[in-house]
Subunit: 297 residues, 2 copies
Amino acid sequence: MAGSGYDFDGWMRAQLAQVEQGLSRWVRRDAPAGLGEAMRYAVLDGGKRLRPLLVLAACDAVGGHPEAALRAACAVELIHAYSLVHDDMPCMDNDVLRRGKPTVHVRFGQAQALLAGDALQALAFELLTPEDGVPAAMQARLCRLLAQAAGADGMAGGQAIDLASVGLQLTQEQLRRMHCLKTGALLRASVVMGAACGQAGGVADQALAQYGAAVGLAFQVVDDVLDVTQDSATLGKTAGKDAASDKPTYVSLMGLAPAKAYAEALRAEAHAALAASGLRETRALSALADMVVRRSH
Amino acid sequence: MAGSGYDFDGWMRAQLAQVEQGLSRWVRRDAPAGLGEAMRYAVLDGGKRLRPLLVLAACDAVGGHPEAALRAACAVELIHAYSLVHDDMPCMDNDVLRRGKPTVHVRFGQAQALLAGDALQALAFELLTPEDGVPAAMQARLCRLLAQAAGADGMAGGQAIDLASVGLQLTQEQLRRMHCLKTGALLRASVVMGAACGQAGGVADQALAQYGAAVGLAFQVVDDVLDVTQDSATLGKTAGKDAASDKPTYVSLMGLAPAKAYAEALRAEAHAALAASGLRETRALSALADMVVRRSH
């Protein structure tokens, strides 16, 4: 996928091993009254770990702080995991299947699912602020970026728009805004947080943020495409759900072929941003953009 | 309540004005799709603001950083407010009345309540990490303390124990552990975070942590007492709820008079900790310990 001789798969395997190990160490089973088990169930053994990979690839690109990046990688995954737990609950999407397994509230009850999500969010910020090993200024910056991406001006705000738009006819611009917040904010933050583990400087940071925004939007466009082109078994979650619940999607708005073309255009935009960054080691980021657009689930 | 000539009421009025102003500025109405309104409803115009007052009093005692303390004060209140929103939901306590008003999910629906709670938690960490105005090391430490107090080893863990103990006979030690986490962790953290806005040093920090633990536990004991001695109108929430739902309380375990005596003993413990702290300006903390134990709602 990337330049000659570059072993993206090897890079990815090594990163994923680190992330799984980090998550398994930091999400502890011994939290009280089954809470730890519910948290681990929500986080471990599943998921593409796209956000952690974006953090780690961006950190590589800027030659950043490895310990900070691993913590940031796990922290964004915890935020992502908590959002899925809450999103699946009966009062939200009421989904019973996630990554091919019963969702957390189905397995552990709604109250425990609610608490597990809450505790995962707190844990994300705890991971970012160790007693030592990461410079304090970097810790504070990573917390700020994550809090902004997760909150009302980011993911949670996007979910509120999503809730409010069921059954409505959105313009493409309104749909773009919703997804920029709902899924885009955290994907973009993953890249920006990876960059914040180093000191690449203004031009590179800006280019990486553009890359993150393009990949974040592409991710959602592809998600909408896959929702209508794949079955539940392939996706590991309920397919056709958005269409059935009358949610606006890129496919319902643009049609299938234009949505696919749009995803390709965003992929090109991501590559262009990397080229403009002036950074030398962008092969993992480049391959991740390809992976996001060309994935089958 | 405190030493001669000390105007605790004046101190409190000034602090509360600051906190209300901070919360109103930072919890913005313009968050998307009604989310900001739900967040403000959950946070503003209600609540005793005990946790913010503990932060600000502890900061005063150590001569700490005022901007950091105000942010910390508002951040702990946001965590407290989000926990109430989620706690009141049908899958948890299913409560319809809070601070004399319909609870957030009754007013805005369950999905919006869930999101509002989630966004309030994120906002707490955003408040602690401003671009400038607070030293980075202090920001990072405040985040760490808050994340630990809010998460699986703190408030969320305590709630999980609470859920699991309905209908069970707990020992006093088990009940103490549950409350140390469920309400105690955040109250204690409020004091410790206030102290972290300054540099009081080991002995004073330890004494303040002891004070915070005693006040935190006293708060819960008094809560249990008020649940059986006061009516809903006075409490601003449903009275007799714990007894009705067969939850273990200090009153059910010890009896009413011994529970009251225990609260008084904890008040004395808090005062003793302040005396041992070596800090000069502990009058607000002292008066707050009295207020917690002698409150009527």
